[in-house]
Symmetry: C2
Subunit: 550 residues, 2 copies
């Protein structure tokens, strides 16, 4: 029988004391709710586990005992940004491959590729990303022959800026055994040249898979380095949490190893890219929040269609600039419902990638059906929701749908969207305000590495509908502009809610972890131009500074 | 700039204090080293993390302050047992299937199967384990037709006691598409009947795979229940740590979920069953020790041959009772070396299943070659090492080989081994003492669920070479008996060392976790008969009692 000695009784029975409370004083702080309700505070107390225990108004003192003082010198403090749609490992691995996103012409790209090949003679494959034939003003896709002319000795494989097309040289096509005899796969297309059968070099959506499969997988040490690099990029941009859309088993294992080793500092809300992998990881349901709210496998990402740039987005009527083409069904309606059903059975969350108006209609119809079978709070997510038939917008208001959208897509895609859709189908394009007013919660993200992870640019776009150059004047479809508060909420508290993380982070409320960003401007009191030029001075996670690294 | 407030300085800067130290007094305690050196102690101080901070002799008092007292009333305390070869999930899942291990005849088994089918009409497959045609005195393997006579409406699949053969009814053979046209796979055999082509019902080693693959996988909730059941069984038998031999990805995920949820209380040293899965889990090397030393993926288990009962063990000359048969190469020598090389490259440990004398010679040869390429401490493990050519025994002394053996196999297999090998090949059978004297460290285990997890029976066998009935009189090859100290070390400290866990548990030394067992006898001062009847009264992990559950 266990017997308590009186000498140690008080210490042994007391709840584990907070070892150190820190008062962050002299703060110009903003708390925010998912629907954009703002509170201001002047100081905050954070306990040793990084949780906020008090938010104080100007002139008020803390109730508890304070061990440390941190003078913030009037800093503008907002909740740590939540990127609701990112590809963490792809962003990190991308830093280790050739970046073509800044090239302005095919010639410039080819020159960079040739330099890269000369610089890394030992690499068995040359990988790159970020090309955009629209940005080059090329008026067509590039070809394998153009790549062969600069690198003929080994495979070259370069993904388009949107990730929905890849450009291969002949060695890469050969490695993937893609020939004139290869048929287009379901959900993909092999562009053809010459006799109309020979592969041209660019592969769309599902047609990319054989080349992806032929690429030697990254080594575990490359993956560690990639995660570390991605985390650093997010922190530099004030992002403390991301929804990782399409987490593979290998990604998950990398995240766990980082968590186990203690260097996973960012928060990752993971959505598996495969049902079997989700079930393997989660078992009977979403995982617990691991590593002090740093990691959770919450559900599944389902790709319903492709992207607009590669004409893979599924449209109700054909592309204006490709009249025979309706886009691609990456997942059939039946498959979608089966996946949603299996996930919902065990309370996993479902995030549906839908870009075209037909895909969005299909996603909304499926949610409508599944919500009847699986009632209760499901937080169905539609990722992108870029092109929506105005007739469907009201349907976003049912079943608490979350619209996970990326403001910067509007500025990158605006002209391309006009070309793809023609002038009469734009009323429901990037329709943030309309979707929000229909009743859906907006959760904003970057879709990085498709777009840079620049939240300030996203905020500026969200309130102006203009790009970095201020184009177009007055904003593109300016009726879709959001208020500053709503835009900030979509990048913070709403993103946390969309990942079942409310109460853990995202709002800067008492009880949450103290994840916050120090900005050199007040984002609720600045012009779009100022917002775009606002700098992230510091990023803190759970009361500890992670940028600049300590 | 962070500024420390003087008021909280002492508390904030002091190392995290132990919240409660417990003195276990009135102990008849045994510490032991891997090579069997024993120390006695009378009391022990355990800190809040479950680590031993002091071991005290009779009459000595603790140096530090004590918060709790636990009067052990003179209990016999030894280190928690380490089972160096077990199949945790199979043991647990086995508790959820039909146990045939106690049946004494084919008729008795068939009656049990019929009852089980009637009891679970909704189960799509009927699964069971533990049959042994030797125990039935059948003189042959059972057939599908005999099973069909009792269950014809759905598949029945029953694994043999050693796990190296399975008995299917016709529905199970059909589900696995095993027909007269199916050839024997590499590393396996389909027993035939009638015209010599028709499958008879029993499948050996690799031939079991198609049926295993056709069985619906256990649901995640079944796996949780199985792990919980296995942990309970281990604790009831005083086992606090196991080497899990052949951990699958799904097993690993179950262990992690239990660890994440806080109910993984036993310690699992995991060895993956597949190289790709090991690398996926471990990445650049073995995982860290997770959950306060509860879980680690340390390396890989490689199956070199099958088992003796099913005549799958690889022999240098043919089976005495099957003169055309040399056994089965489950893994080729080349594959073995490739796996060992890949594992060793990243400091993963290699455990080689080798039962027959040819397999043991092959394992020793491979270790000899690989040790040259990968020098340093590798702790190469040979699992089972049951039948060793006496000419090879000295080779166990090189390269610090660990012989991971199961004493109870000797008593279960003795008569069968004599039949399989004939009288002239037994000199190196279950040769614990000879292998130990050659210089290998002995780590003992159960191979559960192949054998019961009864460590006391194992200790009694190890010092007597007799079975529970005291047979044979004077012991079988009594020169292979071990000392009590050596046997206890093989079930405790040596098992921890074999899993790179020395300093963490296994010895009851200062600095280790306080994992211990309370027995109703002193295992170093009792006869084999007393030892076999010794009871586990309590099991403690990290200073907390886990059996009887609190």
């Amino acid at each position: 029988m266990k017997r308590l000695l009186l000498a140690g009784a008080a210490l042994a029975l007391a709840p584990s004391p907070a070892l150190a409370d820190t008062l962050f004083e002299n703060v110009d702080g903003i708390s925010i709710t998912p629907d954009g309700k703002v509170d201001r505070f002047a100081a905050m107390v954070v306990d040793d586990e990084g949780r906020i225990t008090e938010l104080l108004d100007f002139g008020d003192g803390p109730e508890g005992e304070i061990d440390y003082l941190e003078d913030m010198k009037g800093a503008h403090v907002v909740p740590g940004f939540v990127d609701s749609h990112a590809h963490v490992m792809a962003l990190g691995l991308g830093t280790m491959t050739l970046d073509l996103s800044q090239t302005r012409s095919l010639e410039e790209a080819l020159a960079l590729i040739a330099d890269y090949a000369a610089k890394y003679p030992e690499r068995p494959w040359l990988l790159g990303h970020g090309w955009n034939q629209e940005q080059w003003g090329l008026g067509r896709f590039p070809t394998a022959a153009e790549l062969d002319a600069v690198v003929g000795d080994r495979p070259v494989w370069l993904s388009r800026i949107d990730g929905h097309a890849g450009w291969a040289n002949s060695a890469a096509l050969a490695a993937a055994e893609i020939t004139a005899e290869t048929r287009d796969p379901v959900g993909g297309r092999i562009l053809r040249i010459g006799n109309g059968r020979e592969p041209a070099g660019v592969l769309i959506d599902a047609a990319m898979a054989p080349v992806d499969a032929a690429v030697p997988p990254p080594l575990p040490e490359d993956r560690e380095q990639a995660l570390f690099a991605a985390q650093k990029i997010f922190f530099e941009h004030g992002i403390t949490a991301v929804a990782d859309m399409g987490t593979s088993l290998a990604d998950w294992m990398s995240y766990r190893r980082a968590g186990d080793a203690g260097w996973l500092q960012m928060r990752i809300m993971a959505y598996a890219g495969d049902l079997g992998e989700m079930l393997l990881i989660g078992g009977t349901g979403p995982t617990l929040w691991l590593y002090d709210d740093k990691l959770r496998m919450g559900g599944i990402k389902v790709w319903l269609d492709g992207a607009l740039g590669s004409r893979g987005a599924r449209l109700k009527t054909a592309y204006a600039d490709d009249p025979a083409n309706l886009g691609i069904d990456v997942t059939s309606g039946t498959q979608l419902r089966n996946i949603m059903s299996r996930a919902s059975l065990d309370e996993f969350q479902v995030a549906i990638h839908a870009i075209g108006d037909a895909a969005n209609a299909e996603a909304l119809a499926a949610i409508d059906e599944l919500a009847a079978e699986y009632p209760g709070e499901r937080r169905w997510r539609i990722e992108h929701a870029q092109i929506v038939d105005p007739a469907d917008i009201a349907r976003f208001g049912k079943h608490d749908v979350i619209a996970s959208m990326q403001p910067v897509h509007m500025t990158s895609d605006r002209l391309m969207a006009e070309a793809r859709l023609g002038p009469d189908r734009l009323a429901g394009a990037y329709a943030w305000r309309a979707i929000s007013e229909a009743g859906a919660l907006l959760a904003f993200g970057s879709a990085s590495p498709v777009e840079p992870v620049d939240v300030l640019a996203g905020l500026a776009t969200a309130i102006s509908r203009q790009d970095a150059a201020g184009e177009p004047a007055g904003g593109w479809m300016p009726e879709q502009r959001l208020s500053r508060e709503q835009a900030l909420a979509a990048y913070t508290a709403a993103g946390a809610y969309a990942g079942y993380a409310e109460g853990r982070f995202g709002s800067l409320q008492v009880g949450e972890r103290a994840d916050f960003v120090v900005l050199d401007n007040d984002p609720l009191l600045t012009s779009p131009e100022q917002l775009r030029n606002t700098r992230v001075l510091q990023t803190w996670v759970a009361g500890r500074r992670v940028f600049p690294a300590q």
